[in-house]
Amino acid sequence: MLKCRTVWKKLAPLARASSTVCRQNVRRTGLTSSRIPACVPVAHMSTGPAGGGRENQLYILLVGAACVGGAIYTYRTVKGDSQRYQDRIEEISSRSYKRATAEPATPIQSEPSVILEPEPEAAPSLEPEAAPSLEPEAAPSLESEAAPSPEEPSPPAPDAEVAVPETTELPPAAEQTTTADEPVVEASPEESAEPAAVPVVEEEPSPPSEPSPFELTELPPAPVVESEPAAAESPAAEPTEPQPEVVAQSGGPAPDSLKVPSHTPYLLIGGGTASFAAARSIRARDPGAKVLIVTDESDPPYMRPPLSKELWFSDDPSVTETLRFKQWNGKERSIYFQPPSFYINAEELNGAENGGVAVLTGKKVVHMDVRGNKIKLDDDTEISYDKCLIATGGVPRNLQVIERAGEEVMKKTTLFRKIEDFKSLDKVSRNVKSITIIGGGFLGSELACALGRRSTEYDLEVVQMFPEKGNMGKVLPEYLSNWTTEKVKSEGVKVISEALVKSVVCKDDKLEIKLKDGRLVKTDHIVAAVGLEPNVDLAKSAGLEVDSDFGGFRVNAELQARSNIWVAGDAACFYDIRLGRRRVEHHDHAVVSGRLAGENMTGANKPYWHQSMFWSDLGPDVGYEAIGIVDSSLPTVGVFAKATAKDTPKAATEKSGTGIRSESETEDTATSPVASLTLAPTVEQHQDEYGKGVIFYLRDKVVVGIILWNVFNRMPIARKIIKDGEEHADLNEVAKLFNIHDD
């Protein structure tokens, strides 16, 4: 009340003028009667100089309330800001702790909290060096932060068991390598760090290798990098194991504001197949090119198809670690496009004489400034570029019913896309009794077949459900889709077609999926393979167009979005000169478009012309390659070879006579001219009827898509037919070009 009084005094002249208006309003709105009782106690208590008017006192109340409200708001904002700030600092320290356990290269943010600790012990020159690396707001308050919380530095350091002086020396060793005093300052802390690190070697392989990557910034990266982790990890770990770790250490979060180049001629956003293909293309065409790949994943570029195919069929029990698979030609390879020694460290990029490809893992690009030709990372680092490629790919879609079903259900759901999803699904498949795959497209069917194969080994029930009538219902014509579904069933999968999921609940640690038609499916784990949402997060800040029909960034036939910006891979909605505007989510397309984007970034100015293909295998009987627009809603013409015994791959490998004899008997009768008319219906029921052939997809009588069904090495012919874009009167004649009867 006193407050009101003083304020009233100050605002008196203004108040009087406006109070008349107020009075009139109050009268008009008829609030008087309801307000007055509330006002009365106020009126009695405040003996304002104006005296008298109820309306004046009402006004006092209103103004007073406004001031009080303003004061409260200001107080809250200030408090909240400081609270938020504190939370942020804690988050940064905990983030650095998480990073330290995964990849022991200590990021700079944790160092400030540590830096002030060793100040009395180590060189005082550390602090001025630390300062430029800190964000301005962090520095001043951290001095006060470090003092009350000396315990904070220890958790960020990986080895909590080791005494504090050792932990505080390891991070300074790490941070110092980035400053000019590297050789001098490095020596002393490392001497003490090394003996401290050695006893810890057995317990935690990560900390001892922490000083080594930073030593290595002086030495040629490859040979030393490989020997150091081998030395550090005394328990015999596979040589392949430390490599991804080392990549993460040397190319990963260790680069912070000091280590990340502030400018790069070629910037590739996203570290997948398209990005890698572009990097290779740029390096091939621009001698000495410096290419920086920025990815939010923790792995360097790798290929996705084996994650749902070959890796599941591997006999190697450690396949989840090695990620190696056997190719068709029998040779083994890793899913990573190149081993870590192929890439150079981000901080060495600008100095590299012949250029190179650097991969920055664990960093997300959050903002793109097209006018200024620069991007901003999630740690506020800015990188400017000359040419930029956006190859951000996509994120798996989820069913709304699952998202709404809550935490319990989400914990038992896998959205399959990355290496970590493969690892976790592999583990799950060994530990549960039943897995349900929702989705009948490529990914869903391939995973169903892969898990179906395991079903006998691990006593696992594999269920696949989808809204269509058969597997690949949106790709294959109905007769072929039905045939494929039978094949999938024979792989050990329980297929539930025409299934629309209505709700999912978690009951007694099991998931219950209720379908719209009332059926109930009980399962332990769900894999949702219901499509990919292209990642267009940068469209807003960059001001790039997003396609409303297909999703993804809209680019022209040369994959260009703006003058210095190209988009490739799953995220690109591009104009195909032959087939029209489309967006393709296949591996070969990522390779082809990535390569094309790389060519265009180095001045080629070529449109999308070489048609990409895709393939899928569903068990030992069904394998197909396809090219172009393969949509089951288009009219199709399928030309199939009348199967003889030797055509199925299974029959080719079969040694026993019985299977072949029974098949060839029916074949013999079927091929005789008279019998063929009457026996044609029985041939239809024959299992191998769609053994091999070619299917043409037509749009306005022009072939726009071709599937080669169990027919291989003919893709160039298919590509040619689509490129020509001609109307063919008799597609049987076109089918002759493929020689489907030959092997």
């Binding site: 040629p220 490859a222 890698f276 990097a279 290779r280 740029i282 390096r283 091939a284 065409r285 001698p287 000495g288 290929m303 198809p305 070959e310 190719q327 068709w328 030609n329 040779k331 190149q338 081993p339 020694s341 192929f342 150079i344 012949n354 490809v357 014509p477 109905e478 007769y479 070969d588 390569r595 070529k606 449109p607 012309w609 070489h610 393939w615 295998d617 390659e625 009219p635 199709t636 013409v637 399928g638 030309v639 199939f640 070879a641 063929s676 291989f712 090495n713 893709m715 040619k720 020509d724 001609e726 008799d730 049987n732 004649e733 076109v734 089918a735 002759k736 070009l737 489907i740 009867h741």
Partner: protein, 158 residues
């Protein structure tokens, strides 16, 4: 005898081997070998080397890319009687570089240098064949995978 049936909008034709023995009368448009849009083989129409050829794998783009390009260019343009005889230094540089990355170039040294020369001579002899075919004649899933390691695979294979 082939027969044909229609299921809605989809047509299905079954053909015997004899049916397909007669040559096709389907007409395909002749390809223009100089079409700039097409994927080029190892040797471009103007005689230059196409460093972006999938057949080279990662050779021209890796850490030893520049050494490889120098050596191979020297060899390609060499007019000596023994082709490439003046390029020994370039090849030695390349070999030294490759020795520093045994993971990426996993051959033994003497095999590697001789194979590099052998492959470059065979490759320049048959330029158009080096085009899109190697990645594709390798069977399907290796199509794109061979893209990245084809030359390394070739070396280990031969």
């Amino acid at each position: 005898m082939s027969y044909c049936k229609q299921e809605g909008k989809d047509r299905i034709i079954f053909v015997t081997k004899e049916d397909h023995e007669a040559p096709s009368n389907a007409e395909l448009i002749a390809d223009d070998p100089n079409d700039p849009y097409e994927e080029q083989g190892l040797i471009l129409p103007n005689g230059d080397i196409n460093w972006n050829c999938p057949c080279l794998g990662g050779m021209a783009s890796g850490p030893c890319g520049s050494q490889f390009k120098e050596a191979f260019s020297c060899f390609h343009y060499s007019k000596e009687e023994v082709k490439g005889s003046e390029c020994i230094d370039n090849f030695r540089n390349m070999q030294e570089c490759m020795q520093r990355y045994p993971e990426l170039y996993p051959q033994e040294e003497d095999k590697e240098s001789s194979q590099a020369e052998a492959s470059s001579s065979s490759v320049s002899a048959a330029p158009t064949e080096g085009s899109a075919l190697p990645p594709e004649t390798d069977s399907t899933p290796a199509t794109s995978t061979s893209d990245s390691t084809s030359l390394i695979d070739n070396q280990t294979a031969s």
